[in-house]
Symmetry: C3
Subunit: 385 residues, 3 copies
Amino acid sequence: MSDLHWVLTDVSRRLWRENFAVGVSPETKLAGSDQWSVQKFTLRGGVSDGVDVVEVNNGRFSVSLLPTRGMGLWRGTCDGLEVGWRSPVQFPVHPAFVNAHDRGGIGWLSGFNEWLCRCGLDSNGPPTAEGTLHGRIANIPANYVDVSISTAGAGTITVSGVVDETTMFGACLRLKTTLRTTAGSNQITVIDEITNLAGTERDLELLYHTNVGGPFLEAGSRFVAPVKTVAPRDAAAVPGVDRYQQYAGPVTGYAEQVYYFDLAADKNGRTQTMLVNAAGNHGLSLAYNTRQLPCFALWKNTQALADGYCTGLEPATNFPNRKDFERQQGRVIRLPPGGTHTAAMDLAVHSTAASVQTVEQEIAALQAGHSAQVFSQPRPEWSPV
Amino acid sequence: MSDLHWVLTDVSRRLWRENFAVGVSPETKLAGSDQWSVQKFTLRGGVSDGVDVVEVNNGRFSVSLLPTRGMGLWRGTCDGLEVGWRSPVQFPVHPAFVNAHDRGGIGWLSGFNEWLCRCGLDSNGPPTAEGTLHGRIANIPANYVDVSISTAGAGTITVSGVVDETTMFGACLRLKTTLRTTAGSNQITVIDEITNLAGTERDLELLYHTNVGGPFLEAGSRFVAPVKTVAPRDAAAVPGVDRYQQYAGPVTGYAEQVYYFDLAADKNGRTQTMLVNAAGNHGLSLAYNTRQLPCFALWKNTQALADGYCTGLEPATNFPNRKDFERQQGRVIRLPPGGTHTAAMDLAVHSTAASVQTVEQEIAALQAGHSAQVFSQPRPEWSPV
Amino acid sequence: MSDLHWVLTDVSRRLWRENFAVGVSPETKLAGSDQWSVQKFTLRGGVSDGVDVVEVNNGRFSVSLLPTRGMGLWRGTCDGLEVGWRSPVQFPVHPAFVNAHDRGGIGWLSGFNEWLCRCGLDSNGPPTAEGTLHGRIANIPANYVDVSISTAGAGTITVSGVVDETTMFGACLRLKTTLRTTAGSNQITVIDEITNLAGTERDLELLYHTNVGGPFLEAGSRFVAPVKTVAPRDAAAVPGVDRYQQYAGPVTGYAEQVYYFDLAADKNGRTQTMLVNAAGNHGLSLAYNTRQLPCFALWKNTQALADGYCTGLEPATNFPNRKDFERQQGRVIRLPPGGTHTAAMDLAVHSTAASVQTVEQEIAALQAGHSAQVFSQPRPEWSPV
């Protein structure tokens, strides 16, 4: 057993690897797979010019990380199934080409195409005087990135990154994110630690915009989760509340519907959610801790394929409303100086009916004892009037 | 006869050539010239850092394309005559250094120095809630660029590029532009195809900001075109309407005057325009199809040389007014899903009186049968009150 | 005796050195030190990706210049003492990652961590319709950078740069900046020439945001200057006016206090200012000409270390108020076409009590004959109501 470690980026020490690749070798055998690899390259040309990509492949599940875009997860593949979606924004966009102030503060959308991107950290809601749509973190490059391999057990691959959302007289939040996966597994784990580097208390709003299209999303797909309470975000979502779990196929001109949830969890706070395809043999599950991420938003955006057919499973510290409303409702975290908020999640791909059913049973067990309360109208404590 | 083809940039396939050069060789002889060449390099330093330049030289006419700036044409030279102008913005500006929201939404002007740059594609007018001045396309890099050589006939050089102006929940327009020139000729042809990639109808506004200074522009230069109707854009242009065709030399403190036109065309829609110097032996002509580009604006900006002495010949799909006004007047194109709007133009340099006279005759023939109607005041259907 | 010269960047001639280093050699012996060096490198990764750094070391005083950030002085070291401060913004920030329009026009603060950065050139005050906080110049890269060595006398090292703040229909100001230092000395000289490239008169506002933290700033540090008049900028600064010269240690939650000054000078206009530590053996002095820079602001920002404990000694052409107010008060410079405004300053580190005392005596001599007039309230001609 041995551990290996490579630093790809460290601005503080002027370390930088233009390219990097590691895989199976006599020193780096992982019991779980002999097909694993990690590589790093930089995209050139177009709006992707200068975007770093780290591709982690555990031999079964491959995922592309974007250090230049706040360590977001661009897309993945597991058991031959694509994970992610087809945004109208085709390539990863360097933050230099995203002007957050476009179109009244929703310019963030011109860089939006990841499977998983973070919204926050100072604010994660709509544009206000306090910030532009979904905040800054997805458009800040990591100043530190490293890769580690552990040969213990089946073997583990880890990629870590540090992204600082800091400014004089404002947010001073450090995101340390760790992506970990076991060789040959169908799962990746993301662990985020957000620390307040300032000398005084600071706000934290964090939301995981986890976006999925086909083959998990299709007509007849279902969202499965242990629901205590669900409510439409706004009037536009009211008509669909009775079928919030069901998905339509691509509908030209479909207007997004968003539902807010309080999910059940086990005694440790762990909950499980999943998007399942119509046949019930393709599932993408997302497990996390409701003490770390008490809120959950379901973004249903079953527009035409060309317009970005997808759905978002979005665990968060708060609902993505105006920050003043969230503050009023007590959902904005106040981090003390040096204080850290941790959030972790397991993202797993299920490529057989049996694997899907295991997760369904897990969710059923979490649901047991809770009857889902479905509000037909927005809740005043969740949605501003 | 043979055809050769090189891809310089293709983000989708991770193809990228840092440098490229091709010219006369045993395999690449063009009958029209033995001095032709194409080269690509990247500027470094200043606000130009990272700007790609493709220089196409047909052996007589040389032009610099800027893939990083929406495939704009920076400047050219033909028969020893400079084509372009001297903007106060000296070098090509990387979009990372242009903040469109500066100065109330006119930040676009801090990157403006091309001979030909496109305004659009979602909007091309003044800053409004719908967009900043002249839109985004001139500040979006091409994600695909290629070069082709055909040895047929005199030999043809072609450079193509693809620029995507896309965002989630917004514009999804793809510009495919082709610059083509015959070896040894005094002309280049630009063919643009703009396609709506979205699943629903989208707006298109396209204007070619074609800007010319000396030696074509000087005191006594004339604008020649087959005019059906001309009107001042606004009150500032009213005093100059009777001499809209004539140009002054550089005048310190000159305030721009803009005229809007309906031009005559032949039975296929083709029209011809030209800027001619005082002596009548230097002309820059711009021919295009009025069915593709029904509107034309003449921008007279004969300020001091240091302030950007130039004039703009601007064929367009619409007049560069507020988009809501253009929409009201029915001049905003609605592209159906997958629909394409094509616009082509021939840009030619005339370095002798004889060559200039040929174009003058062509324009006179188009004018025949139309008496130019000159409005002394702005037309309510062309200019918002 | 000989002179040597290297061009590091010249966009107009397509010259660029990715890396550069020069130091002692048979041809480059400087009498003042055999430890001098100049090197240039480019930072990679994080928000520093693409930031050029030029490190000038005269053998005693080392300073890092940032061509990519308007030729600002990032930080330095002299006699083992760090010069600069610890901003919450850790690394030099490439302008592509600074959106000046963030947070109502104060986005400039997300790139702010230099020892010396310029505010201006068209405006240097708070955000208004005329410009964002502190203007554009600190976020514009130099299009020309060179290094010169003269072996005359003790030997001189010079780094020059050109930064253009230009736009069509707006500011057309060229900053030519020269940093000069004698081998083995405790001093650097900065000479700035700002030229109006336009054909008509243009505004100029220039402020040197010179920021200092420990070891010069600590509880008991003093600001020493020959004061004719001092007044609080605003109500927040009123309570501290009687102790404007004294500094507290880091105070969590401290709100900045700013004082405006009219300083005394010798018959040539030269004045001297200094920040001295509590023991009186560490001093950082800043001498300049009040005819070039008639205004002076003292920014006291003794917040917690983590929040950017520092003070700013800020000589300027004007006070950093709204530009319309400064214009009203006659403090906005109007540069004629081709006109140049020059400003120079000597920055020196004093690492012994004796060296500190020499500067104190120099300041005392300038103070002689002037009794400092201390206004307890903001002056209406210096601060807008």
